[in-house]
Symmetry: C2
Subunit: 313 residues, 2 copies
Amino acid sequence: MSHIAIIGTGVIGTGWIARLLAHGKKVKAWDPAKDFDVRLRSDIERLWPTLEKSGLANKATMSNLLTTPTLMEACEGAYLVQESVPENLQIKQAVHQDIGNAVTEEVIIASSSSGLLPTEIQSIYLNPERFAIGHPFNPVYILPLVEIVGGEETSVSTIEFLKEFYASISMYPLVVRKEIEGYLSDRLQEAQWREILHLVNDDVANTQELDDAIIYGPGLRWAMMGTCLTFHLAGGKSGMRHMLEQFGPALKLPWTKLKAPELTEDLIEKIVSGTSKQAGEKSVKELEKLRDNCLIEIIRALKKYQIGAGKLR
Amino acid sequence: MSHIAIIGTGVIGTGWIARLLAHGKKVKAWDPAKDFDVRLRSDIERLWPTLEKSGLANKATMSNLLTTPTLMEACEGAYLVQESVPENLQIKQAVHQDIGNAVTEEVIIASSSSGLLPTEIQSIYLNPERFAIGHPFNPVYILPLVEIVGGEETSVSTIEFLKEFYASISMYPLVVRKEIEGYLSDRLQEAQWREILHLVNDDVANTQELDDAIIYGPGLRWAMMGTCLTFHLAGGKSGMRHMLEQFGPALKLPWTKLKAPELTEDLIEKIVSGTSKQAGEKSVKELEKLRDNCLIEIIRALKKYQIGAGKLR
């Protein structure tokens, strides 16, 4: 069995290694930092009990990790290279130049970038079709989401390979169909983050208050239901359409620094039919019951660690 | 023991009633809709098993709910009036005019508005000091967050009364120190929601994909940790300061339709010192461990209902 090469062993690279080892995969890792292997091994050892708790594959062992003194050696013989160096196009391009020189042309190469355009990164490759973004979320060894974003030159088979590979390590691969800066998840996070920066900058609230505004309310729902399905439920019996009628006018109000698009019939239709498909066979009442039971269970889970809503009552 | 008057029995008003009854409080409710009492009683009956599951007070009983044929009768003798009529300034002002006529001047009056300015609602009162926003989150009988927002005329004692009252029904009262449209929590939600509308409008993604982008990743964290503390952990050992150095430049990139404020030294200082206070005595490593344990527990909770990340593996 061949291995996965992990290039860059910061928070994200280390997270990938932990997840891969927990799933019994063989890993070769390299990082430009001096003595990175000492730090890395101690991090993996520290994480091991957590990985055990979330469930190890039978053949999972720390000895499946090899660290190498050069990028070339980590990449040699790998069937997949996952790059996780700092979020900077020039740095990424330089590293991918080296990766391209180190592997044969059929090897799939993914970047953990959280927002750069894949077309720009892959432009340095002679075989750009085998490159795509595979963007995970911190902590990579627990959170299942990974966004797959192809560039203009990425082949369908590269996307398919990555979908299957990530699913094989218990992840939820979300293929982003249109190349866009920040992809999907970080755009939603970033909109919230920039609003936070404005509110702190304008002395409206501090970071603690803004975090509290999430973890005691909407954040509990977001563990199980996104904003679209949540708003479908907020509309009562007639769901999203009623919600848009009731709160549509608020889109004109300065309820965030972000201007909304015009709520055209076309947009309403896309939102309403989308959420109705998500709801599937379930009525709003049934979804409410599922949401409520699940929220009670989540709060119970938080009680175990006396954090957020688990601290109350 | 006197009662709380609930004016408006839609999704939010009904949620208030359920929470109040579960905490053994006496409620009188009124809504302009014909036969609202039939619908309301059947909703409360349907919710009762859920309330039992999340824990009832000893003296909790559905018979503590009285519905009245007029607003006047619901308000008479109440020590607190909680208004939850549709989100429209004219409608709210008209209803508060009636409430003002129905109660004596020391009665505290709160509005469940999710974004209107309290100063504008309270302007119709002869005794505006006893009015404030008390904005809860759906489902009101489970989520603990309630934002308290005073207007220009609101007295400190009104805010204090509401803080104590909401805490007495197991809520987490978050006092919004500066009056602002959308308050705190909805501004953060609304920034995300408007970004969603843009992405759907631009045909980048559909509602299902955008919900998936949350529930398999950042949403799991948001149940326990807000964006600020989460980003503190994403920065590795040196926390938020490192995170701002690394991702600060991304604020200039079009990673959302929302423009960020300038990342001045002053803003950096506010964000870094704020999150460092939140972290308290805990090192990044300790917080990581707490986050990881908690995430594993949340995913376990979701498994029970086979929803979101609980469906995987």
